[in-house]
Symmetry: C2
Subunit: 252 residues, 2 copies
């Protein structure tokens, strides 16, 4: 019932390209507007249509298919993250090998980075999907159990995996930082994974937006000394900047 209706809507939309809700109501007189809205919403989630004011249009109409959107968490400190991602994007050179974590900042980095021939390792599947849009990037995913909260994988087996893998730089982010506790995150296996990453990477770049400062999460995976470069936004406090620089860490 629902399924069929949605399918039919998609078909009509693919055919006509674009329709208003009013028109849809004429086609489906026996359901309420709200139901049609919800159908459109679902179709949008599936990437088959784009909802526009007053109705929807087929994705095909715009040329070929598309889909996939990021989740709703994209509102938290978005701007800071984009700024950071842009800075980090400048660090990616052709032919380099890079580890990227699965966080939302890495997600933005994936969008912002140039489409260069390079190798990227990641444990974030959303990140991987985003990267898949680049034509030249070679993507490798670290396997393991999937954590729902952040769409990242982690597994004890990752260690052996890294034994066979080389990368020059690691670009990661933390969900919390204090000078005393260092960089921390919410998952123990993830923190273990990151520790492994650090032993393999020649240079560690930490992306940290200023909202993370002063927060503490259960699992510390790096101390200040463990990183080489800190990438942050414009609201990063001076005292902290000096703290990092006093330990010879570049703050950008």
């Amino acid at each position: 019932m629902k399924r069929e209706r949605i399918e039919e809507i998609a078909e009509i939309l693919d055919k006509r390209g674009k329709m208003t809700l009013e028109q849809l109501e004429e086609v489906f007189p026996n359901v309420s507007q709200m139901t049609l809205r919800r159908d459109l919403f679902q179709l949008e989630e599936d990437g088959r249509i784009i909802r526009i004011r007053g109705g929807a249009m087929s994705v095909k109409e715009v040329q070929k298919v598309s889909g996939e959107e990021y989740t709703k968490k994209t509102t938290i400190n978005t701007d800071a993250k984009i700024v950071i991602a842009q800075k980090a994007a400048g660090l990616i050179d052709a032919n380099s090998s890079i580890f990227l974590d699965g966080g939302t900042t890495a997600m933005y980095l994936s969008k912002e980075m140039p489409d260069l021939k390079c190798n990227i390792f990641t444990n974030g599947i959303a990140v991987a999907m985003e990267l898949a849009q680049k034509k030249n990037v070679n993507i490798t995913i670290v396997g393991g159990q999937l954590m729902r909260e952040n769409l990242s994988t982690a597994s004890p087996a990752a260690r052996e995996y890294f034994d066979r893998t080389n990368f020059e730089i690691a670009i990661v982010s933390a969900t919390a930082f204090t000078p005393e506790q260092g960089f921390s995150c919410n998952s123990q296996i993830e923190s273990e994974l990151l520790k492994n990453v650090f032993t393999k990477a020649r240079n560690v770049y930490m992306m940290l937006d200023s909202s993370k400062i002063g927060k503490i999460n259960p699992y510390t995976f790096a101390r200040i000394e463990d990183i080489d470069v800190l990438i942050t936004d414009d609201h990063f406090p001076k005292e902290y900047k000096e703290l990092f620089e006093s330990k010879n860490i570049v703050v950008m």
Copy 2:
């Protein structure tokens, strides 16, 4: 002034894909919302963007996202695939361990399956993301290099990975089938991976929509005898059904 601003908006939008008016206001703090609206309106007339509720999205975004090939596939034979997925969904019991491939049929299966406490292994990241919406499913991703065309991973290392992993049933699909060549796919590493899966799985369920019949792809990964159950749609030819049943394979 106006021209440049519009140009800049288009650029940013092409880059970020999507933006709200609010975000645009932050980027252009010295013009009013109405002006930005008018700019978007003009860009829409030029066919460069699509205005959506609350903002706009780049036309390029819609064209490129999700690597054309993949989503294109998702629209072919949708109905058959959903039917198949629903049948397969009935096979999933609580506490079972299941391998699922990364194909589009598996994608539908992920949508259709009940939210039971079970373990699912997959090499498809789109499948994994879909599954992540279930509360109770424990998801494990097989790591390796990501193939753009189907958003699946595969790697020679997967073999060792499977050595430490157990699952009762494997539910996979093929992109081509003939009685002579058996089930085949487009990627050699993927075919290797599936062969490994078959050695571990106690039961193999093959999902095959009837449009795949008579097609041949480069890499055969299973013969008729290798599977236990064939899940297909209503258009599956009788001769084929009898062929399978003559070899003691259940056709459903």
